[in-house]
Symmetry: C2
Subunit: 136 residues, 2 copies
């Protein structure tokens, strides 16, 4: 990896970097992972953040207020074409506690000349009363 | 359109069909819009539904319990490659009421031989206390 620039060969590699940065509260790596294009991010319960600056600032603020979280992830589905990938990920937040929260995230990665970067993260909290049931 | 089969030329066309079916509570069109592959759907506050049958059944149940909703949409961002498209959409639900709810949805469309079909819908409610602010 060059200083300040990530060169990631696959969407899975980008996703590993994302969750490692999340777990370590590493805003610098997070900034390098997000593309400079018109990226978007939706945190649980929140509205749409547009643009690299707003998105990275939101992560910096989250990291500033939090202890490094324990996160266990399970990729429910990968959709991949040559230069765009969409992963639907179940995130168990506080995985080492008695009562972890379940968050579902759609992560979108795009291939640029130097490799794969993140262009969207859309996360939503699974309400506990619906966690074990669907709408059926 | 052939009976029971949609032939949609663009992701925008698929998205128009999705929201028209949503507004009209039309489960038959919704079933025809979703791909037969390993599709996924996350309703607000809910967990992951996987597969055409579970996804379409959830929409059928939603439609069975609801009056046709008024929905006003605003596409915040489109990411498009040759055969995959990701749209981040702000959905104002109950747009004709005094207190509409704001839902953010990531909609993913994939190009098949016959045209574009829906492969993911991930929706989350914007909590009113965060609606006018970001995490900064």
């Amino acid at each position: 990896m060059k200083e300040g620039k990530l060169e990631l060969q696959t969407p899975d590699e980008a996703e590993t970097v994302f969750y490692e940065a999340f777990k370590r509260c590493d805003a610098k790596v997070m900034a390098a992972l997000w593309a400079e294009d018109d990226v978007v991010c939706v945190h649980p319960g929140a509205g749409v953040l547009v643009g690299h600056e707003a998105v990275v600032r939101s992560w910096t603020n989250i990291f500033g207020n939090a202890h490094p979280p324990s996160i266990k992830i399970d990729v429910a589905r990968r959709t991949r074409t040559d230069d765009l990938a969409v992963h639907l990920v179940a995130q168990q937040m506080g995985a080492d506690t008695q009562d972890p929260a379940l968050v579902v995230a759609t992560n979108v990665y795009r291939k640029y000349d130097a490799g794969w970067l993140m262009v969207e993260h859309h996360a939503s909290l699974v309400q506990s009363e619906t966690r074990n049931q669907t709408l059926q």
